[in-house]
């Protein structure tokens, strides 16, 4: 499966980048996400439960980040085991482009393969389902990020993020302990892109299971 898409998010690119790497944000936005845990700077695990009709399946996913280029984008790849439903694996390249002071264009190109029941029953449904999940994710994401952005003290007080991030903003002085805003290429967190794909897989699995 190949999938591409783009979303316009009403927040500055830095904020979007940060959110993309924030497990909490992801947890809120990924449909059916139960946990997102950071294993290392470039590895995460996620548990996602999806229900389609009467069927539920739980995916255990492992996500790895690569080609980190904050705040421009990264590549994430991962695989998820859905037990009886099968498995999915894939990767996605995510790109962030600044379209204005508070508008960011997010583009992704993902490819995924599924196996087992997912492939058997879902091959035909996977594209549509993945798209739907991705839409769901990004609409939530846009909302969460926008709200967070508005809630932010605005450019006045803190220097939240170097507006023109040349990537190497040294450790931000003002950041309190609660604000571990990373300066340097901090391996982003996750599964943004990958997750929609995984999710799609899951959904497909569910479909399969339901249909079986």
């Amino acid at each position: 499966m190949q999938m591409t898409g783009e979303y316009r998010i009403p927040a500055p690119r830095e904020v979007v980048w940060r959110s993309l790497n924030d497990p909490d944000v992801l947890r809120q936005c990924i449909p059916g996400c139960e946990t997102v845990d950071k294993i290392s700077d470039t590895e995460f695990t996620a548990k996602v439960a999806l229900a389609v009709g009467p069927v539920k399946a739980k995916f255990n996913g492992k996500v790895t980040l690569g080609d980190l280029d904050p705040p421009n984008g990264y590549t994430i790849s991962g695989e998820g085991q859905g037990g009886v439903a099968g498995f999915g694996k894939g990767s996605a390249t995510v790109n962030l482009e600044s379209e204005g002071p508070s508008t960011t264009l997010l583009r992704y190109a993902a490819q995924a393969t599924v196996g087992g029941k997912l492939a058997q029953v879902g091959a035909r449904l996977i594209d549509a389902t993945a798209k739907k999940l991705a839409d769901e994710f990004f609409s939530r994401f846009a909302q969460v990020v926008a709200v967070a952005h508005e809630a932010e003290p605005a450019p006045a007080t803190e220097p939240p993020i170097a507006p023109v991030p040349e990537a190497v903003t040294p450790a931000p002085p003002a950041a309190g302990p609660a604000d571990p805003r990373p300066a340097a290429p901090r391996p982003a967190l996750p599964p943004l892109v990958w997750i929609p794909a995984l999710i799609a897989v899951i959904v497909i699995l569910l479909w399969l299971v339901t249909r079986a």
């Binding site: 739980k58 037990g83 009886v84 439903a85 099968g86 498995f87 393969t113 599924v114 196996g115 087992g116 029941k117 997912l118 492939a119 058997q120 029953v121 091959a123 035909r124 399969l208 249909r211 079986a212």
Partner: protein, 794 residues
């Protein structure tokens, strides 16, 4: 005396249909044993992977779970692998590669759907939920799904012990004679084609219940099988090591099989073995998606062939090279399908003097492939009948004319082909003539023109096929590598009041045996059909049997019944001679009466039966009481149904949609016992043949994932894909069985596909299109038209 209305040749309504149509059939899944548990089988999502570890501990603790077993548990009990019933040899005489097939995978999984573990629980749902808790640590390995990929250098290896994924590399025929024929050829016609992979899709998914009686040590397996005795033999002797006397295999009503229920499957062994472990009955029923990834698939050949012709279009020689997909393991009869059931049919109905075929059977990471309705003969027929059409077009000969010139003449029988078979009877000109007339071949040009005005491309196609069924002489198949005999057994038990129960080793899975066999007996013993009961499917009742496949039930099973009836009549004559105080030689048996020849003194069949069981006036010194006879019949030869199928299609050039608008089948199936059943069998076979030609195609992706795993993606023929199929018969009798019958179960699936594709090619001929692979889906046809248009424009 007028012919009976319930005997041979009568269109008797099927006795079994009342219970089927009113929902009173009894299928395996309908059976509920006391204390029955349910099995769910965890299957591999990977086409090829190493199993590094399986953790069943969480599943074991789940609600309702009684046991969880893996391949290691079965190995500990010395459970054997699923055996293969046919040994094919390589060109150099060495045996084929025969890798092990444990019922639950050990160490590696080799196709999506390979069984990994079984959960046994109080309910199906509990077992399924618990299976979610089994953690399998897979290391995915590179996989290969297509035969073409599997033989490439460096291809992933399905088995370490099978170099180049090659199970065997086999040949048949005289290569030198064929090479010489090609040197003399005026023209050589060539074709490369794919015989598409098919999923059988019986209406009833497979199911099995294992039962164990701790008091007696007896095992019972209830299963969806076409041949319960074969399952008892294979599972008892090779897998679970249970003596026949301790193992009963019972297949009640079976809802279709098309070959897929011949084979011994892992689930049968798993539930039987597990029942012994947990000391309770264990039931497993396939879900439809499980059927797709575990029932043995059919066909899957890639073939190159060349036909050498002389100036007049006479066939001089045929050369065939085929790659056949075996799947990941050897299913029960897999090796014989692309060899002895395929290459031996390459003479077709023609006098081709020299034929050479080589077949390479290849392992891939896919579900095992085995016999599916027609098994080998559809592959041979499709290849040959396409190639003949190609030759006709290239040589500017009429497709009818080229066939007529090459037919084996009606007076040439018995006819020895260059590929081992000896045809006993047939009249191919006659079936062709009858079909041409029935299909109004002569009026086609007008219909094509009329269609053209509606913007449709109309085409007509023909196939004149032959097949070999009535499988098979045991000594012959034994010499060719069969590990079983292929006779059939029957017991005719006459009861004291003259009613009869017949026990047959052939097992109906929809063919109407309870009616056809009863007609035989009604005719043979002169008693009403209501007084005859047919019993099949239960090893506890039936003496023995090899089962139902290869259109053998009448030719072999029916012949066994006739032989048993002969014995009954012979003994009846002795009894009647005593009762009538006449010499045995003077007793004639006709229309249910034993008569002293030339007199009106007679005893009815029922009177003789009564005397046999109440032997007060009976020759006890010379004759045992009772009237109950058993016969085993081993056929002398295969039978050779043949016929002519004509198909007309209309193609919408804008969408590529092909509609079959007329279909005519004229088949020589030997003597017809029940014309209504024959018609139904032919129509069903033709429907499957049209399905293969236009709709059905099993697709694996390059990673070995099954993409057509449900009916959403695998297109079975539906009512609106099928025309009204005109069926007629043309009869020459089989010369070597007592009934003169040949068999009708597979002819439709064999004759139809090339007729359909030849019609499609005929319709597309204005574009210069000469070949299209099955299934000729709208996408493929549309694509071919577009490509041709571009070529024409260029």
């Amino acid at each position: 005396m007028a012919p009976r209305d319930d005997g041979i040749g009568a269109a008797v309504r099927r006795k079994e249909d009342f219970r089927f149509l009113t929902g009173r059939g009894m299928y395996v899944d309908d059976i509920v044993r006391p204390g029955q548990l349910h099995a769910y089988i965890l299957r591999s999502p990977h086409a090829h992977a190493e199993i590094r570890a399986i953790d069943t501990s969480k599943a074991m603790r789940a609600n309702g779970v009684v046991a969880v077993f893996t391949g290691a548990d079965m190995a500990k009990d010395n459970v054997g692998g699923l055996p293969c019933g046919w040994l094919v040899k390589n060109k150099d005489g060495s045996p084929m590669k025969e890798p092990p097939h444990p019922p639950l995978a050990v160490g590696r999984v080799r196709h999506v759907g390979d069984a990994v573990a079984v959960v046994i629980a109080d309910s199906r749902e509990a077992a399924k939920d618990a299976a979610e808790l089994i953690e399998v640590d897979y290391l995915p390995l590179p996989a290969v799904a297509s035969v073409a990929d599997a033989i490439k250098p460096g291809a992933p290896q399905v088995w370490d012990i099978v170099p180049d994924n090659t199970c065997y590399d086999w040949e048949l025929g005289d290569k030198a004679a064929v090479d010489a024929a090609f040197k003399r050829a005026h023209h050589v016609a060539r074709i490369e084609l794919v015989n598409n992979r098919l999923v059988p899709n019986a209406m009833e998914p497979r199911a099995a219940i294992g039962d164990f009686d701790p008091a007696t040590g007896d095992y019972t397996l209830y299963t969806t099988s076409q041949n319960p005795h074969v399952i008892r033999l294979l599972m008892g002797a090779f897998v679970l090591h249970i003596p026949e006397s301790k193992l009963r295999v019972y297949a009640p009503d079976v809802g279709g099989g098309f070959g897929s229920k011949i084979f011994h499957y892992a689930e049968e062994a798993i539930v039987t073995w597990a029942a012994g472990k947990v000391k309770r009955p264990v039931k497993w029923t396939a879900e439809r998606s499980e059927s797709f990834m575990t029932d043995a698939h059919g066909r899957d050949h890639v073939t190159r062939a060349e036909l050498a012709l002389d100036r007049d279009g006479k066939f001089l020689g045929l050369r065939v090279s085929t790659l056949a997909n075996m799947g990941a393991y050897l299913s029960t009869f897999a090796p014989c399908v692309p060899t002895y059931l395929y290459a031996t049919l390459l003479a077709g109905v023609y006098t081709t003097p020299a034929i050479y075929a080589e077949v390479r059977a290849v392992f891939t990471n896919t579900v095992p492939v085995d016999a599916y309705r027609g098994a080998g003969r559809p592959e041979a027929t499709y290849l040959l009948e396409r190639l003949v059409d190609v030759a006709a077009r290239e040589m500017n000969l009429d497709p009818i004319e080229i066939r007529r010139r090459n037919f084996i003449a009606a007076n040439a029988f018995p006819y020895q082909t260059p590929v081992a078979l000896q045809y006993d009877s047939g009249n191919y000109q006659a079936t062709l003539d009858q079909a041409l007339k029935a299909a109004d071949w002569a009026g086609f040009a007008k219909r094509r023109e009329e269609a053209r005005k509606r913007g449709k491309l109309r085409g007509i196609g023909i196939s004149t096929y032959i097949e070999a069924c009535g499988i098979a002489p045991s000594n012959v198949v034994g010499a060719l590598g069969a590990r079983a005999g292929l006779y059939e057994a029957a017991e005719v038990r006459v009861h004291p009041t003259g009613t009869v129960t017949v026990f047959t080793g052939c097992h109906s899975h929809g063919q109407g045996h309870e009616t056809t066999y009863a007609q035989l007996v009604a005719e043979g013993l002169g008693i009403p059909i209501e007084n005859i009961e047919i019993v099949h499917g239960d090893t506890a009742k039936i003496p023995f049997g090899m089962g139902t496949y290869g259109s053998r039930s009448l030719a072999v099973g029916g012949s066994a019944i006739v032989r048993a009836m002969d014995k009954v009549i012979r003994k009846g004559k002795k009894i009647a001679a005593h009762l009538l105080e006449a010499a045995e030689a003077d007793i004639e048996f006709k229309d249910g009466k034993f008569t002293v020849a030339g007199t009106d003194r007679s005893k009815t069949f029922a009177e003789v039966a009564l005397a046999a069981y109440v032997p007060h006036n009976y020759p006890l010194e010379e004759l045992e009481p009772g009237l109950d006879e058993t016969a085993f019949y081993d056929p002398k030869n295969f039978t050779f149904p043949a016929g002519c199928h004509i198909c007309e299609v209309e193609i919408d050039p804008d969408t590529g949609v092909t509609q079959v608008v007329n279909f005519t089948a004229v088949d020589d199936v030997g003597r017809v016992i029940n014309p209504m059943i024959v018609e139904g069998q032919v129509q069903g076979g033709v429907a499957q043949g049209i399905g293969q030609a236009l709709l059905e195609g099993c697709v694996y992706d390059e990673n070995g994932q099954l993409l057509t795993g449900s009916m959403m993606d695998y297109t079975l023929p539906r009512a609106d894909n099928l025309p009204s199929i005109a069926v007629a018969t043309q009869t020459t009798l089989c010369t070597h069985n007592p009934l003169g019958v040949k068999g009708c179960g597979e002819v439709g699936a064999i004759g139809a596909p090339p007729a359909v594709i030849n019609a499609v090619i005929d319709a597309l001929s204005p574009y210069g299109i000469t070949h299209i692979d099955m299934p000729a889906t709208p996408q493929r046809v549309w694509r071919a038209i577009q490509d041709a248009r571009m070529k024409q424009a260029a």
